[in-house]
Symmetry: C2
Subunit: 209 residues, 2 copies
């Protein structure tokens, strides 16, 4: 497979390809043309072909894509077969909602444990995941070596907590705190979730109409 | 102000401009050049000038932008001064987290009420917002005329519920159900939140490294 610099725009479209292909796969669809996939996703067939060409050769002229194969290839590109192990920091309502409803395993993340400071939560478990005291964090991470942390904690502790976790070896942050986090480590990555951006986009659309 | 077709890419950058300008404004920054703003946001100065030119003339050659003015202008473009009124359907953990932590008012949305089917939740309130029975939905919407609904309900009821709300006159959906919703009404808009997309992007980045 060719190696080249992939643009952020392409990277951000990959998960959406994966979602659509996964859905088609679950519905038993075996083959799909780039134009049919494009129509479903509201993008052009040539955009799809161009995006996928960044990662190698997929599909066959006139025969379209094999759904199961392309789904597996894109899953592989996305790293869902890398065995990521994840801890959740903050088991309040949002942490609880993620533990209860989000299918981490389906996209290759094993949820190892959750942590909180609240005495009422420590020792309880949600869908089989035990909530531990934050005091156990250092020992736990040293022993079990998770590589990703989900942050659902108050804003004022977000950056110090991220720094503490980076020191412990965490490489990826799924960050729901609405604080833009940063690190000087080149191999540490943040995905900041800004709920407000999508609500403002909705506001724009209904206001213009 | 000129009217022209605005691309989705520009629309999706607007909320981020607003967030950064709001932050600068709160920090007391009065003026900023497009290059300084670009450096903060990790985009080019010319991208910023080009995006903003879709909406009119902002800033002064050599003097940069007045932060308070540009923030207000972008807020206006985004429709945060339109008096949107919103209901939350589903007061489980995610609905609860949004009611408790998300600052709807700050971006121009008044939270009118929340609805759920659970007898334990009906009649309680979170930050002053009463949780009502789903049986009251029709009467409530007819009387108070909210225009936006937040959906944090199970997947199997998402589309029927959206159709029911569209019939009642709801125009915008902030949709956390992970189901892609649709409508034939041209003036109804959906913002679908797919948590999984950002987790997969994170997976990609840490896996490639």
């Amino acid at each position: 497979m060719k190696k080249q610099k992939i643009s952020d725009a392409v990277i951000h479209r990959l998960p959406r390809y994966y979602r659509y292909l996964d859905d088609l796969h679950n519905k038993g669809v075996v083959r799909i043309s780039s134009s049919s996939l494009g129509a479903k996703m509201d993008i052009t067939a040539s955009q799809i072909r161009q995006d996928l060409s960044c990662f190698g050769e997929f599909g066959q002229q006139g025969y379209g894509y094999n759904v199961a194969e392309l789904r597996a290839e894109i899953g592989h590109i996305l790293g869902i077969d890398k065995g990521h192990r994840l801890i959740i920091i903050g088991a309040g309502h949002l942490g609880h909602a993620l533990l209860q409803n989000f299918d981490f395993e389906k996209v290759g993340f094993q949820v190892d444990s959750a942590f909180d400071v609240s005495p009422e939560l420590i020792g309880t478990s949600i869908r089989g995941v035990t909530i531990r005291s934050m005091d156990e964090l250092e020992d736990y991470v040293a022993q079990f070596r998770p590589n990703v942390a989900v942050l659902t904690v108050p804003q004022n502790v977000a950056q110090p907590l991220a720094s503490r976790l980076i020191d412990l070896g965490i490489k990826g942050f799924w960050n729901f705190t609405n604080v833009e986090l940063s690190s000087h480590e080149p191999d540490v990555f943040f995905e900041d979730i800004h709920f407000v951006d999508t609500l403002l986009t909705l506001s724009y659309r209904i206001s213009r109409n």
